[in-house]
């Protein structure tokens, strides 16, 4: 059982986070902490072990969090999202959640073509990776538009999932049975993990997931390079496909309400690829509609603006104030604050490249300056600009960041 002190600490951490999202000043700046592949390295295990052995990964997380506590920690990467199969099983809400994250053992069972795991397709010290490919041909847009869920189940699941290639076969049925058995075991383990983390003062916070429809088409179906060409070759079809995917994607995200999620994570990808003209015509309308519709249902969003989002900042202001969290990678959070203050909770600020390559003294100075500019007025969550510190990140640099946050993070 967690001690009353730890339960109180968990509440304080959650309240700090909540206050920032509500654009207020908490007692301290909320800090996500910095996780990633370094969590496994710190415990002396390979990334393969971290992805395939839940007991070892839990012990690694506990060891790291005892030494590097934060408000809402990001662990290591143990899996990759699998929106295709989730959408394909959208009409079976008791199952869709199970497909959300493909961990190592799940991938051994399903055989997902676009996922690479350490110790399997890549080196055992590498990270799990997503690598899209062309799973849908350009002449299949009409089929996708007519019935996205049916198309994903009948055409894309067999193409992307080796062991579900022939959907009616004994091999596919056996795969689903094995998948179910594994999920029963891993579900029980996740409860154990949640209990262990509560003992350290961390509440588990269920979150939902939404993808910009155009990102789904680009990353999961057409491949980025083809999608970019499609925008010029078949603009009407691309637009219609994004619109057709919006409702299924929304339904999927809102299923998160059943597990108590009040925040949807939306990692963007194509934002940096598109000119404002293409962004506003093809990308933003269905993304914006998704964010607004979720908000109507009581679900805020945390959008990861991957790469440079500078060219599209003004569009964020089309959302109502307090809509959620803007998490920035390369766009300077100071610049984001100038544009979005009092409107959007801003997240990010710590350049992972610096944490890898700089020195403790320089990092101390950097965090001091950053917090000095970003904390006043509230509405800021401190986090690394990308959620994965590599294995060989110098531990003294990590420690320097946590110490600086402790020193300079009080309101």
């Amino acid at each position: 059982m967690p001690s009353p002190e730890m339960l109180k600490l968990a509440e304080e951490r959650a309240a700090r986070y909540r206050a920032a999202i509500e654009l207020k000043e908490p007692d301290r700046v909320p800090f996500t902490g910095m996780g990633g592949d370094v969590v496994a390295a710190y415990a002396g295990i390979s990334s393969y072990e971290y992805c395939f052995d839940p007991e070892k990964s839990l012990q690694a997380i506990i060891k790291y969090l005892k030494d590097f506590p934060s408000d809402r920690p990001i662990g290591g990467m143990s899996g990759i999202g699998n929106a295709i199969t989730q959408l394909a099983f959208l009409d079976y809400p008791d199952l869709t959640g199970l497909f959300a994250m493909v961990d190592g053992p799940t991938n051994d069972i399903l055989g997902v073509d676009y996922i690479r795991f350490p110790g399997r397709e890549v080196d055992e010290y590498s990270s799990p990776q997503f690598i899209g490919a062309e799973y849908m041909k350009a002449d299949e847009y009409d089929e996708l538009i007519a019935d996205p869920v049916k198309f994903l189940f009948e055409k894309i699941v067999p193409r992307t999932t080796r062991n579900l290639r022939d959907l009616g076969s004994p091999a596919a049925l056996a795969t689903m049975a094995r998948f179910g058995m594994h999920k029963a075991r891993s579900g029980a383990f996740m409860q154990k993990q949640a209990a262990e983390l509560l003992k350290l003062g961390y509440k588990s916070e269920p979150a939902s997931f939404f993808l910009a429809p155009l990102d789904f088409i680009s990353d999961n179906l057409r491949d980025t390079v083809n999608l970019v060409k499609d925008l010029r070759r078949y603009p009407d079809k691309v637009k219609a496909a994004a619109e057709a995917l919006l409702e299924p994607m929304l339904k999927l995200a809102l299923l998160g309400k059943n597990i108590g999620a009040d925040m949807a994570f939306i990692p963007l990808h194509l934002n940096e690829y598109l000119s404002p003209k293409l962004y506003n015509e093809f990308y933003w309308p269905t993304l914006k509609e998704g964010i607004l519709r979720m908000l109507q249902e009581g679900m805020k969003s945390q959008v990861f603006f991957e790469g440079w989002h500078d060219a599209h900042m003004e569009s964020v202001l089309e959302l109502p104030a307090g809509w959620g969290v803007g998490y920035f990678e390369k766009t300077d959070v100071r610049k984001a604050k100038k544009i979005l203050k009092g409107h959007t909770c801003i997240m990010g600020g710590i350049d992972v490249g610096m944490v890898i390559a700089s020195t403790p003294a320089k990092l101390d100075e950097y965090i001091k300056e950053l917090l000095g500019e970003m904390m006043p007025g509230g509405g800021f969550i401190l986090s690394p600009n990308i959620g994965n510190l590599p294995r060989e990140t110098p531990i003294e640099n990590i420690a320097a960041v946590y110490e600086a946050v402790e020193k300079y993070g009080k309101y």
Partner: protein
Amino acid sequence: MREQLLKSFVDMDEQEAVRIARELVDTDGGAVAVLDTCKEAMEEVGRLFEAGEYFLSELIAAGDMFNQIMEFTLPKLQGDEVTSIGTMVLGTVQGDVHNIGKDIFKVMAEASGINVIDIGIDVPHEKFVEAIKEHKPELVGMCCLITLGVDSMKRTIEVIREAGLRDDIKIIIGGGRVSQAVMEHVGADAWADDAARGVRLSKELLGKE
């Protein structure tokens, strides 16, 4: 016709650019004219990208147009009509399986006259060494998308140094997560987080700009 080709290429009018190139390539001296014009167009697209007027989608579309046109132009050129300003061994470093950044850079580098030897993705450190020995490039380009690539680039450069080859080459690193700090950390000579900058700096390293 050269001006029309240049304009339609830079304006991203794919059909028109390909049509004009097909027409021009069969005229006297046309193949050289198409090659030179497309190179010039790619340079202009790179400039517009660095000026913030074009985005990655334009770089991808331009690269695709360039490849389409070269497919029917290169076979019509004599060997000595295709000149190179230098050779680069290019690969995504060990542990990282991503190719999109590398491929966008590759076509722009080729369009600028660099002879690119693409050694693929998830390239073991030793394979870089072997490729340097075999092709004797002036430049080595290392790409990564994910953060682990930083460790991997550092190790690759160490292995190149241990093989006694570091002083023979210039190294440029590229990818979404590289920066000045990362460049100094891994021991490279230049860095670029976009293809246009990468090509410009590669030419500088070759002493061509």
